[in-house]
């Protein structure tokens, strides 16, 4: 092992005995929380740590591990029995480094589970149905953000089904508008939104595809999706500049009204959108429709979870800490003024865009955890970009696009020779 990777591990192993379950100088208990340095320093994390320490006298000891060696270090620490009480990590393919069943305590039966939004709960639940951790993180909602001012002026209403979306695109096109901004130059997250329902709604599909017992070709919705994308592009619903539209052009296109809808996330409006003819107030949210589910879908953000080390001597204290975090009083205090989509149903102090707030009832039944991109092994957005471009160029058919997507996945997961 290279020294660069070894150092953080040695450092962590040296620190852990000093931190784990050992009484602090004033005689109270301690809880060690291992995470990436920047994650542990988030304001809402330090706020809730402080509140808990003040409320209980239990000392929270953050154990920062360098990003590059995080999974390796944390997994080894847990396996050696010297792991932290609580581990902060995202629920994605990186959890493969851990023995989830042996390392983490299932939290499904905790009382505070009801406090979680559907999307947050889905994100933190594994294939067996166990809730792995408490999502305590800032988040966003990805969906179809549309220019409601333009729609109103045209006497059109947002779609609630795939058929309506098709009719809406046709009506917008008839009215001389570009219905959908599809940045085919380097962007492919739109596809992952569409695939979420196939794998988030059916964890067996996820497990099967990760074990190579299932391919995209076995799921007819994937071919339906590419067929729809191909037809929409050819019908002009994505405009004539889609192939040259990339990340940098989405903002100007939407702000000018050159396109009416795009598949993006709410925090993008805070970070990358500069108002033009239209501002953020002109936009609203509806589900993404890419022909994989009739009712459409939203993708929740990637959430950092606090997971309890099953083998920690301080499991009870850790459970108490998580319950503390999940109480409305504490999470509202921690997230006050933070721009994020709510993870908790009674979250009120965070700053949430009107777009997300207005779409709450729609979100409630359609929000899904990010699954395709983060949890399908071998899913590679760069390859998806190429596939969509080849499809648009007429080099491949929708069926061939499915085959290429499978080939990409197998290529990425093939063992290094």
């Amino acid at each position: 092992m290279k020294l660069k990777k070894l150092l953080p591990l040695l450092l962590a192993l040296c620190l852990l005995p000093a931190a784990c379950g050992k009484a602090p100088a004033d005689g109270g208990a301690t809880l060690t929380v291992m995470g990436k340095p920047m994650d542990l320093k988030k304001s809402y994390m330090t706020r809730v740590f402080d509140r808990y320490e003040q409320a209980t006298g239990v000392k929270i000891v953050p154990v920062p591990i360098d990003d590059s060696a995080f999974e390796d270090t944390a997994a080894k620490a847990l396996a050696s029995g010297k792991g932290p009480d609580i581990l902060m990590h995202f629920h994605n393919a990186d959890l493969d480094a851990f023995d989830v069943e042996k390392d983490f305590l299932p939290l499904t039966d905790q009382l505070w589970v009801e406090e979680l939004t559907e999307g947050a709960r889905a994100y933190c639940t594994d294939a067996r149905g166990d809730l792995l951790g408490l999502p305590f993180w800032e988040s966003s909602v990805s969906g179809c953000y549309y220019n409601k001012t333009v729609l109103d002026s045209l006497g059109l209403r947002p779609a609630s089904t795939q058929a309506e979306f098709n009719a809406l695109c046709a009506a917008l096109k008839e009215a001389g508008m570009t219905p959908l901004c599809w940045p085919a130059d380097g962007c492919a997250w739109m596809i992952q939104f569409a695939l979420d329902p196939l794998f988030a709604d059916d964890p067996e599909n996820l497990a099967a595809i990760n074990e190579n017992k299932l391919s995209y070709a076995d799921l007819p919705q994937v071919a339906d999706m590419f067929t729809w994308i191909d037809a929409a592009y050819k019908a002009g619903w994505m405009g004539s500049d889609s192939m040259t539209t990339g990340w940098d052009q989405i903002g100007p296109v939407m702000a000018s009204g050159d396109a009416v809808m795009t598949f993006i996330w709410d925090t993008w409006f805070y970070t990358d959108f500069t108002p033009g003819k239209y501002s953020m107030d002109d936009f609203a949210l509806m589900p993404v429709f890419l022909n994989t589910t009739d009712a459409g879908t939203y993708e929740g953000g990637n959430l950092n979870m606090m997971m309890i080390n099953k083998n920690s001597p301080n499991v009870d204290t850790a459970l108490d800490f998580l319950a503390f975090c999940a109480s409305p009083e504490n999470y509202n205090a921690a997230f006050e003024g933070i721009s994020t989509v709510s993870c908790f149903v009674h979250q009120t102090t965070n700053i949430q865009s009107h777009m997300v707030t207005d779409a709450q009832s729609s979100l409630a039944s359609r929000e899904r955890a990010s699954t395709a991109s983060s949890r399908i092994r071998g899913y590679k957005n760069d390859d998806v970009v190429s596939i969509v471009r080849e499809l648009f160029s007429g080099m491949i058919s929708p069926q061939e696009a499915v085959a290429h997507l499978d080939a990409s996945r197998l290529r990425q997961t093939a063992p290094a020779s």
């Binding site: 002026s153 006497g155 779609a159 089904t161 309506e164 009719a167 096109k173 008839e174």
Partner: protein
């Protein structure tokens, strides 16, 4: 004329018929379109009237049903909510409704399952509650589903603690749409129920409603003018019916609307125009097709006989044309004439014979598309026939010209005669071009002309030759005869005798050289001359030239300097004698035509060239003599050509030397060139290529251990040449340009411990001559370092003085590395032996010769001449006799044998072979020299091949005899020394 008129009228008639047909068609199409539109809209109105009535019936039925349920509910009361729910559920399902609602006066509704919502009933709540009128409205449910609500006021009641004043049922938009959808227009028709302000309550659109307000959409997406939109809005406000055609998204649509008769609702239908009138358009199309077919049939009946007749005629003509073309193609393929026919106006090719590809290498299609491609073939690159020339040909006229063309594929050039006819065929102007191959004819003429020229030239040459020969032979003969007469007359006067014999000898020599040149020229020109290629030494050749030519130059007080540039290879394969002849001719001419005190430079250099097994040498003979006129330069290489001027008239010459030289250079595959300016001199340059013998270069430096060398020559260029020649040999060459500098350089070098291993001193230097320089050098550096005198002169005269002044050896100019090494080698091994190398003018003294000569007179002359040189001769009359005399002699009796070749009994070659084959102890070593009038290279070769060692031409020249004998004796001496040293 008649044909022309016919041709003109036909298109006009056809155009008129087509125009009339088109106008009728347009009129009919417009009429039909108007008719179809009216019929279509009437049809549409009828269909949507039915839809409207169906929807109205559906509304009325729902309201009626709800009213009856209300009455029943008031009878049931509030006591048994389960019975109420069961009754309502059953009836709801029976009527196909989605849900049943109790409606409170504030718009709150409660479903049978107890779920409560708030609805605004599209603003019709007041109508329902206050005006107590039944309503129909659209509603978006929280889950996004679009529903249609039918509500009617009922007697107030209570259901599960919910106080209601009206009841309602809902249908999903999709379900209701399915029941009312119009299938008449391929499912492409849309039906809306909208409020008068445009808000859409309900739509039959598949998949749901995306139109919130259709008037807004229409205003934004259609091409309707604001006025038209105002008209529609006004119609909708009062529920007036209307029908409008417009474009939405580029497609023509028909909008049909009418008031529903309740709640100010409007029923709107939107159908693509093309779909509405599709049926009628189909009828229209069919009608048009039928008319078109009828038109075509009638036209066919009328025109078919004409067309068939015309077609038959045309077919016949075509067939005839094809037959003729085929015949013509076959014919032209078998002749060497190319035929082209061009359109008179456009100059486009109408016919081209296929043999153009064979004869000129131009593909037929290429020539057909643009006749100008033929310009590529024209050797001059000119147009085949310029336009202005074509235009100048009168109709019916023709022109002819001859030109040379090059085949585009093979590059072969051939002469063609081009005849261009400007003619008219069936009143159409045509240009016909015929190219006839005249190459053979032209070649024949050319050959005839050449033969004629050659014959004339030969005749002229013969006359010139005879005239020249007559003059050139008679002149010396006249002198010989004349002075012989005078000699006889003045025999008693010794001075006169010496004068006359001298002049007779000079004339004889001139006559001899003339005869030699004529015979040589004759042999070369007859192609009988061959080259005797053998290995030869360039330094030796140049040394021989020096020996021959230097006395001539000295006699005229001229400077003859030989320069060697670079390091030309010293050993070459070639005809040494012929090369010698070329260079002697050039150099002796230079001496001859350069006034006294003039300067002649002879430069030898190597010209770089690719093949490593060959060397290309350049010989330049440059003089500052009388030069040649430009006219004469053109004739200089022609036989008997001599420039006639006051200067040349005094100079003897045959006029054959340069012709022979040129022929020999040509024979050797070389080139000779001349630059000359009258009064300033001439420069002849000869370039010849020689094969290099296969031999390894010896490491001379390793053998001699010479590191430093001093060269003193007043000509700086010679010093540089020597440095260049010795470059790479490892010998450092220091060059100085006078004797004093040489002495000083040698002294300083010795003082510094870097003394020179050998010193070369030019014998003629302006400040110190060679003797003085050698003496001073000996004083300065002692006796050990060899001093070699470098001289272009015969050193016999200076030999004694040179030895006394300290010169170790002599070396001829120009400087050659091999000569240098050969010269100094004995000095390093045996410094005292150098004197033996020096030539001896008295080489014949004391020698005894065996001479084979069948001609008594010649034998006598030779005996006398030998006697004069101190040598003795024993004469044998033929080859047999000479062999016998030699075989029977004591060893060492004869120092050398002079052998005539053409002898009776046994010729010289046979005799030589017999001597060499004999058992006599001297058989293998005795030098045998051919002595013959056969002086050609082949004769020399034959002599050497038979075992002889040298060759002397007759008449005998004693200087040549001495030189040859001396060379042979020195060679034997060297060989003996070499054997002794081994």
């Amino acid at each position: 004329m008649k044909n022309r008129l016919k041709k003109l009228l036909s298109p006009i008639a056809i155009a008129a018929v087509l125009l009339i047909s088109l106008l009728i068609g347009i009129f009919y199409f417009n009429y039909m379109s108007r008719h179809i539109y009216n019929d279509s809209t009437a049809h549409l109105e009828e269909i949507y009237g039915q839809v409207n009535r169906a929807f109205g019936t559906f509304v009325e039925k729902n309201w009626g049903v709800l009213a009856s349920w209300g009455e029943y509910l008031s009878l049931l009361g509030n006591d048994d909510p389960d019975s109420v729910a069961a009754y309502l559920s059953q009836n709801r399902d029976y009527w196909g409704a989605t849900k049943f609602y109790f409606v409170a006066s504030d718009g709150t509704v409660m479903a049978l399952d107890g779920q409560r919502y708030t609805m605004d009933f599209d603003g019709f709540l007041d109508t329902l509650m206050r005006e107590r009128q039944p309503i129909v409205s659209g509603e978006s449910m929280p889950d996004g589903q679009e529903i249609v609500i039918f509500a009617t006021p009922v007697t107030s009641g209570m259901y599960r603690d919910f106080e209601y004043d009206a009841i309602a049922v809902s249908y999903s938009n999709d379900d209701l749409a399915a029941s009312l959808r119009v299938d008449a227009f391929s499912g492409l028709a849309k039906c809306f129920v909208a409020q008068s302000d445009g808000r859409v309550l309900f739509s039959t659109q598949s998949g749901g409603i995306v139109f919130a307000n259709y008037l807004k959409y229409l205003s934004a997406a259609s091409d309707l003018s604001p006025e038209a939109m105002d008209k529609i809005s006004a119609d909708w406000a009062v529920g007036a019916p209307g029908i409008v055609e417009c474009r939405i998204g580029g497609e023509k649509q028909i909008l049909l609307y009418q008031g529903a008769g309740y709640q100010d609702l409007i029923l709107l239908s939107v159908v693509p125009s093309g779909v509405v009138s599709a049926g009628f358009l189909s009828v229209q199309r069919i009608t048009l097709y039928v008319l078109a077919i009828l038109f075509l049939l009638i036209s066919g009946l009328v025109f078919t006989p004409l067309v068939v007749s015309s077609h038959r005629r045309s077919k016949h003509d075509q067939k005839e044309l094809r037959y003729r073309e085929m015949m013509f193609d076959i014919l032209s393929n078998n002749v060497d004439d190319i035929f082209l026919m061009l359109d008179g106006d456009r100059r486009q090719v109408e016919y081209i014979s296929p043999n153009i590809e064979r004869l000129l290498g131009i593909p037929v299609e290429e020539a057909r598309s643009d006749v100008r491609v033929m310009e590529k073939c024209s050797v001059g690159g000119d147009a085949v026939i310029p336009h202005e020339v074509l235009d100048s040909i009168p109709l019916g006229g023709s022109i002819t010209r001859e030109n040379e063309y090059m085949h585009q594929t093979t590059g072969e050039r051939r002469w063609y005669r081009l005849t261009v006819y400007r003619t008219s065929i069936q009143d159409v102007e045509k240009i016909i071009l015929v190219l006839s191959d005249r190459t053979q004819e032209r070649h024949m003429n050319q050959k005839l002309q050449e033969a004629l020229d050659a014959a004339r030239s030969a005749n002229e040459a013969k006359s010139n030759f005879l005239s020249n020969m007559s003059h050139d032979i008679r002149t010396p003969m006249n002198a010989i005869v004349g002075f012989s007469v005078l000699l006889e007359k003045d025999a008693g006067k010794p001075e006169k005798v010496r004068e006359y014999t001298g002049k007779i000898m000079a004339s004889s020599h001139h006559l001899l050289s003339l005869i030699n040149d004529v015979l040589d020229m004759s042999k070369i020109e007859s192609g009988k001359t061959s080259l005797n290629v053998d290995r030869f030494s360039l330094p030796e050749l140049l040394s021989e030239l020096n020996i021959i030519l230097l006395p001539q130059a000295r006699a005229k007080n001229q400077t003859l300097t030989v320069y060697i540039k670079g390091a030309p290879p010293e050993n070459l394969m070639g005809d040494h004698l012929r090369l010698n002849q070329i260079l002697i001719n050039l150099l002796s001419n230079a001496i001859k035509y350069t006034p006294e005190g003039g300067k002649i430079e002879f430069t030898v250099s190597e010209v770089s060239q690719a093949a490593s097994q060959f060397a290309k040498l350049r010989f330049i003979v440059k003089d500052n003599g009388i030069g040649m006129s430009e006219e004469f330069q053109k004739e200089v290489f022609s036989p008997f050509s001599r420039e006639v001027s006051a200067l040349t008239s005094q100079i003897q010459g045959t006029g054959l030397g340069m012709a022979i030289t040129k022929n020999l250079v040509d024979l050797m595959g070389g080139v000779i060139s001349l630059e000359s300016q009258l009064g300033k001199g001439s420069t002849f340059t000869v370039e010849l290529t020689f094969a290099l013998p296969d031999e390894a270069e010896a490491d001379f430096r390793a053998r001699h251990m010479i590191k430093r060398m001093l060269v003193a020559d007043d000509e700086e260029e010679i010093g540089r040449d020597i440095q260049e020649i010795m470059e790479g040999s490892g010998v450092e060459v220091v060059a100085v340009t006078d004797g004093k500098a040489a002495v000083e350089a040698a002294r300083q070098a010795q003082r510094a411990g870097r003394g020179f291993n050998v010193i070369l001193v030019d014998w003629k230097m302006p400040d110190l001559d060679g003797i003085e320089a050698a003496r001073l050098l000996r004083e300065a550096i002692g006796q050990e370092t060899p001093i070699v005198a470098l001289t272009s002169y015969d050193w016999a005269d200076i030999q004694e003085d040179a030895k006394k002044s300290g010169v170790s050896a002599f070396m001829p100019k120009p400087f050659f590395a091999s000569t240098f090494w050969e010269t100094i080698e004995p000095l390093f091994s045996d410094p005292s032996g150098a004197a033996d190398q020096l030539p001896d003018d008295k080489v014949l003294e004391g020698l005894r010769f065996l001479v084979a000569e069948d001609n008594e007179l010649n034998a006598e002359i030779l005996s006398e001449l030998m006697d004069m040189e101190g040598a003795s001769c024993e004469i044998a009359a033929n080859g047999r006799e000479v062999v016998d005399k030699f075989v029977s002699s004591e060893p060492g009796t004869y120092r050398m044998i002079l052998m005539d070749v053409q002898m009776p009994v046994m010729n010289g070659y046979e005799a030589t072979r017999a001597i060499r084959a004999s058992a006599h102890p001297d058989a293998g070593t005795v030098p045998i020299i051919a002595m013959t009038a056969n002086t050609f290279a082949e004769d020399v070769k034959r002599a050497l091949d038979s075992g002889m060692d040298g060759h002397l031409g007759k008449p005998i020249d004693m200087d040549a005899v001495k030189a040859t004998v001396g060379r042979l004796l020195n060679g034997r001496k060297n060989a003996a020394r070499a054997e002794g040293s081994e």
